[in-house]
């Protein structure tokens, strides 16, 4: 299949620093190429890929301080893709709503994976105006604010099967991964560690937008020998910190569209203690790969249940459900689904559009 992947330009593909979206695009692209598909990756010029790379700017925007307006390179990139759209069977966009107007005027079908939260209120009108666009979500929970949109499938991001190694023996400390923001509940993770008397290793960075939360809520809690802040972790450091943990603590109040930390933990064989919010119930299996709690009291009691879980089952669940092989297979199924529809004459659709949309806003 001839597939165009449209990537954001803020980070390269794969990202130099952390970037879940860019990492997922890279994994998917490499796997599709490995399976023999003809993939063209529209991305920043410093991307590294086995697909054909098309770039309109040599650097990722993060490394281009001379650029004040990221819209300009993005528009160049999208124009480049759609001006050659007839050379692709399908365009797979990771650019949110931005290419919707071009897709409506193109005969090549486009599928969009939405990688971000969908609750910002400004998204509602633009998604309503383009309610015909084919969408993929990272979790069912992510869809809530736009539940009526043209969702084709939820495809959870996957990881390479050998990125992390299974560790069968449980460690004697808890791990916490992710951003230090009110939504991730690090304060409750710390409370649980102190309550249990088991150390907590925190692989996390302070979110610049939440420095005050860090200083007032979290920092005072760190002054205890049980609690260790180890900073942002590389993949091999994660393998060590997660792999030797007793359990990952993920007491998130709200989750991002997908909880990458949870599948990283399962890949290491480490079960997860979490609240049943957001995407957690879709990823974690109660009593098999984790303990899903509804209240803080349940959270405090959860460590007693961890020894009942099998670390082999955690790894096994990862291998069967969370690899890039499974992710790529699901994407190919959706690609076929999008292509298998009766061909739409895009110009015909366009000609019929004006009245409907001018009435509807």
């Amino acid at each position: 299949m001839k597939i165009a992947q449209l990537a954001p330009l803020w980070e390269s593909i794969p990202p130099v620093l952390s970037g879940r979206t860019e990492q997922t695009i890279s994994y998917l692209t490499e796997e599709l190429v490995r399976q023999g598909h003809e993939v063209t990756l529209f991305a920043s010029g410093d991307s590294v890929t086995s697909a054909r790379l098309v770039a309109t700017y040599p650097h990722s925007m993060r490394l281009a301080p001379e650029i004040s307006n990221c819209d300009a390179p993005l528009i160049s990139l999208m124009e480049r893709a759609f001006a050659t759209s007839q050379t692709f069977d399908l365009i797979h966009s990771h650019l949110e709503f931005r290419p919707f107007p071009l897709a409506r005027r193109s005969n090549t079908p486009m599928l969009s994976t939405l990688h971000t939260r969908l609750d910002p209120p400004e998204l509602l009108p633009v998604f309503r105006k383009f309610s015909d666009m084919s969408l993929v979500s990272l979790s069912d929970a992510q869809r809530d604010p736009l539940a009526w949109a043209n969702w084709h499938r939820t495809i959870q991001p996957g990881l390479p099967i050998d990125l992390f190694s299974p560790h069968v023996d449980p460690g004697r400390y808890f791990a916490f991964l992710g951003r230090i923001v009110p939504d991730t509940g690090l304060d409750q993770a710390i409370a649980l560690a102190l309550h249990t008397g088991m150390p907590l290793r925190i692989g996390a960075t302070v979110d610049p937008a939440h420095v005050e939360y860090y200083q007032t809520v979290i920092e005072p809690l760190l002054d205890n020998s049980l609690i260790e802040l180890v900073g942002e972790l590389t993949d091999s450091e994660k393998d060590d910190v997660l792999g030797h943990a007793f359990a990952l603590l993920a007491p998130y109040h709200k989750t991002d569209p997908f909880c990458f930390e949870v599948i990283e933990s399962l890949a290491c064989g480490t079960p997860v203690i979490a609240y049943g919010s957001g995407c957690i119930p879709e990823v974690l299996e109660q009593g098999v790969t984790g303990v899903i709690c509804q209240t803080f009291e349940e959270l405090l009691a959860a460590p007693d249940l961890v020894p009942l879980l099998s670390r082999r089952d955690c790894r096994q669940t990862f291998e069967s459900r969370h690899t890039i092989t499974r992710m790529a297979r699901e994407y190919l199924e959706v690609y076929e689904q999008v292509l298998g529809r009766p061909p739409v004459d895009a110009m015909q659709t366009l000609a019929g559009t004006p009245l409907a949309y001018s009435e509807q806003h």
Copy 2:
């Protein structure tokens, strides 16, 4: 003529606070309607216009703190305009490069007025990719970074003829208007005032991006009874401050695309002392409406030449060259020019595009 005006959404049309672009769009729109044209203004819902208003969001973005991503409402607005493009003779965009991809796929001609500086490096690739787009500049000087683009004309922004009133008697102080940034040379204006012994009234605000410049360079110079910082001025306050001034000091090192302060001064009958940079030589006439200097020494000597200038000539120049009547007439001439070209089959152009652009980036 049936004309669509596409306005930015950050401010309403006209702006509640200062906004030169939004003010110019408002003046042009009202004048075109007054002349009997059918104008549709695509803008924020709190805009006030005698044209037909089409809005996709009730507030200007500045007044919508719930919105984190201005791109979404802009894309809705552009889609709304281009989905109904066949109902317009011409689309006049004030949205920079953003609607270029849609214009390329539309049969309705689009003219774009560029209201901002064109030196940011990210603009070069996108304007090169869309080098066929019809453009209007606010000054010839503005074009420099993209001199090769498809410029139709320079049309200087105009002001309503009765916005400011002529003041025939020269005052006994200098005026300075505009932003306090290194480019506007307020330090040299202050030096000139102190050198001459004539007071200086500064109608300006501190640019948030240049607070350090203000604190280190400008603030220490304000501690002198000759120098008075009066803050941002309304139009009627400008009429007073400019109208009773001896001269406007505009010792800009670099200018914005257009020097609105200079024509406001001329409208009040007040001559201008300026450096010959940017758009100044296109607006100011040496020995008639102002003294154009090349060096700081010339600047210090310039006040001696001001009494040789006629305040009536300043006002007369404003009335003949800088009103919205003249601006609207010039726009209508360019509209006709754009429409008078042999009709282009947009789909044909599009079909021929891919190879050319994929080679060129």
